[in-house]
């Protein structure tokens, strides 16, 4: 950083692009995230982790249609299952998962639909995904949750439109 030396010139020639590169990446990130309307889980409220099954909407887990092509999947997770563990929707459905955990930390991972969220006791997780292609989408718990963690799974079945 001694001015008018070769080292100084090299330093400057590196520092400036080193600022520009992360700034450019961030801009690209912002455009893709917001342009594509991708949202991360955010604030969706709390639930008493000891009284999950007595609290709406988790007292009646299942899939309900909330609008044309819009569905809400209300789910609980507990060692080592999802309730419900099978969700059926028609192709083209937009599904909002409203879920929580009754015991330890679990994960809600549906890689084929880019659903990736944590289920924490005490917190409600709300994430939305579209299911366009008919077929079976595996649901996995992707957070270590005890000795049988690897058996904790479910599926979304997307049925062809009639």
């Amino acid at each position: 950083m001694k001015r008018n030396t070769t080292v100084y010139l090299y330093e400057l020639a590196w520092i400036l692009p080193s600022i520009a590169i992360p700034v450019g990446m961030l801009a690209a990130l912002a455009v893709t995230a917001f342009g594509a309307g991708i949202h991360l889980p955010s604030m969706a409220g709390r639930v008493d982790p000891r009284r999950v099954t007595a609290t709406a909407p988790f007292d009646a887990p299942g899939v309900v249609q909330v609008g044309p092509g819009l569905y809400e999947a209300r789910m609980t997770s507990q060692i080592w299952t999802f309730t419900p563990n099978e969700i059926r929707v028609p192709a083209g459905a937009t599904v909002t998962f409203v879920a929580t955990s009754q015991d330890v930390v679990h994960g809600l991972f549906i890689p084929k639909a880019h659903v990736n969220a944590m289920l924490l006791p005490g917190q409600i997780t709300r994430v939305t995904a579209r299911f366009d292609t008919p077929g079976e989408y595996p649901i996995m718990c992707h957070e270590y949750c005890g000795i049988a963690h690897h058996t904790m799974a479910g599926r979304v079945i997307v049925e062809p439109r009639r």
């Binding site: 080292v7 709300r126 058996t151």
Partner: protein
């Protein structure tokens, strides 16, 4: 001591051994290294079990020391990323600081007490860990509840690192008092930044342990809150990677240039990079919690932004270190735009290990940016991609650098030459080759949607595509295990069987652009520390206050392994 005072920092390091007796410091370093290496051995053995499990192979008799796949993963993670790193760093950094200053620790009794405390903490935590009473991984997310001793022991280790910070600060203060106006030697400056940064960052973990996990695991309170615990954990959990990385950077900046036959390109730029790490390392932990509910999306974006900001000092490091290597290679007769690279002293395992670590880290860093990228994170969070990434960064950039360091440090401490350079070189290349196979396979499996920390061959959702790649995890992992065992053979034989005396000092590099051109601001601590706290308060304050005020501690603990 008066002889030391009149010397410049550079020649001071040369004269240190003659003028100041640092044998006590060296013994402490050796003790910390020894503990770290034992942990690394345990981590390597458990790692092999998991790697083989990916191909459906189980070693006969493994059940005598691991109770389940997850018990093995928990030990592998804790021993490698918490114990090996922390103990290595606690030995290496004070070594560098005291030798760079040519000055003993401000308090040797405190130094010994620190080692004793950290070893005691480790023993206390090891009992439940090895006994399958703390199979909660190195992230120990509640409400999974380990035996209280696990939390208490780890907390004692952290308190020990604070005592090191104190001792280093007092040591530096003593040096400043006798060297008014002089620039702190680079290695000492970097060592102090490393521990100052870590001490600030570890406050989150300390709060989680002291106010949540310890009273809860002892039964003094009945519940906890998983989200608040995770926020406090990641407050420390991201900057801890810089706590691992900065000592490797310290070696790349202050030693490797000379070991590669050249000089450090720019001392001021190196200091600038470390100051940025001091300021920026902590306020970005939410990028580990992008998929968590209960944290506002806007704050997640702020942390994503700050994560990209901390990429800047890593880019500065990349340039400065590569330019220094180029100087060395050109002095050794290297020519051309890129061909000089081949002229580095590749026959020296110290250099080969660390240059290999740097190359690996370039890929690890790029992967890290992907992880931090808000929306892209959804593709990789909690998949096999993440351990793939971790093994490039802490598993190679850091660990292979530390291995390279021990190839000169252990001979120096023992006073005997390395037992076999050739075997050490083979170890380094075996590690790099194994890691390419291992990490690449995990990255691919992650992109295919395979979850991490899962006994995958027993899972109902394994696909044929995964099964085509899974054996590569086992092959790469086996190569890494063989490399680790070679490493221990070389070190042990150096200590017990090597006869040739080792002569050499700590190889501090000369700078091309020296500390005299460092802006005065870089040697001041208060403004940077203040800025670090302000950024932390801005980035974490609102979320933490909201959680602390509104969150009931109502989740009971469970032991379900």
């Amino acid at each position: 001591m008066s002889a030391v005072v009149t010397l410049t920092p550079r020649s001071e390091t040369d004269g240190a051994a003659a003028v100041v007796d640092l044998r006590t410091e060296n013994r402490l370093t050796a003790a910390f290294l020894g503990v770290g290496l034992v942990a690394l051995f345990g981590g390597a053995v458990t790692g092999l079990l998991q790697a083989l499990e990916h191909a459906g192979i189980q070693i006969p008799g493994h059940a005598t020391f691991v109770k389940s796949y997850y018990h093995s993963v928990a030990m592998h993670g804790v021993l490698n990323v918490l114990v090996w790193t922390t103990f290595f760093i606690s030995g290496f950094v004070p070594f560098m600081v005291t030798h760079a200053l040519g000055r003993p620790l401000a308090s040797r009794p405190l130094g010994r007490l620190t080692f004793g405390l950290m070893l005691a903490g480790l023993m206390v935590a090891a009992v439940p860990l090895v006994g399958n009473a703390a199979t909660v991984m190195f992230t120990f997310y509640p409400p999974l509840m380990a035996n209280w001793a696990f939390y208490v022991g780890l907390t004692l280790v952290v308190v020990g690192t604070w005592l090191i910070t104190l001792n280093l600060a007092l040591t530096l203060r003593g040096w400043w008092a006798t060297h008014p106006g002089a620039r702190t030697p680079l290695a000492a400056f970097m060592g102090m930044v490393t521990f100052a940064m870590w001490t600030i960052a570890s406050l989150g973990l300390a709060a989680e342990m002291l106010f949540m996990l310890i009273p809860w695991s002892l039964g003094w309170v009945s519940g906890t809150d998983p989200l608040l615990a995770r926020v406090l954990f990641w407050f420390t959990g991201h900057p801890i990677v810089y706590f691992w990385l900065l000592p490797a950077y310290m070696s790349w900046y202050t030693l490797v240039p000379r070991q590669a036959g050249g000089r450090l390109f720019s001392d001021p730029l190196a200091r600038a990079s470390f100051i940025l790490f001091l300021v920026l390392s902590t306020p970005l932990g939410f990028h580990h919690q992008f998929t968590d509910p209960g944290i506002h999306e806007g704050w997640k974006l702020v942390h994503a932004f700050l994560t990209f900001a901390v990429f800047f000092p890593s880019l500065l490091t990349f340039f400065n270190v590569v330019a220094s290597l180029e100087d060395g290679a050109r002095r050794r007769g290297g020519r051309g735009w890129a061909a000089w690279f081949l002229r580095l002293p590749w026959g020296d395992p110290v250099v080969a290990a660390q240059v290999g670590a740097m190359l690996t880290f370039a890929f690890g860093g790029i992967g890290g940016l992907i992880n931090a990228s808000f929306s892209l994170n959804l593709l990789v969070h909690n998949t096999a991609w993440i351990p793939g990434h971790l093994h490039l960064t802490v598993g190679t950039a850091v660990t292979l650098s530390f291995m390279g360091i021990t190839y000169w440090l252990v001979p120096l401490l023992r006073g005997r030459e390395l037992w076999s350079r050739r075997l050490a070189l083979a170890q380094v290349w075996l590690w790099l080759g194994g890691m390419v196979i291992f990490s690449n396979a995990l990255h691919r499996l992650g992109l295919m949607g395979m979850p991490r920390r899962t006994q995958i061959m027993a899972a109902p959702y394994v696909t044929p595509e995964w099964k085509a790649v899974l054996p590569l995890v086992a092959i790469g992992g086996t190569l890494l295990f063989v490399s680790a065992m070679l490493y221990f053979v070389v070190l042990i034989l150096t200590v017990v069987a090597s006869r040739k005396p080792y002569v050499g000092d700590v190889p501090f590099a000369e700078p091309m652009s020296g500390p005299d051109s460092v802006p005065v601001m870089f040697d001041r601590w208060k403004p940077w520390l203040a800025l670090a706290f302000v950024l932390i308060a801005l980035a974490y304050g609102p979320t933490l206050v909201h959680l602390v005020v509104t969150t009931p501690l109502d989740a009971p603990g469970l032991r379900v392994w």
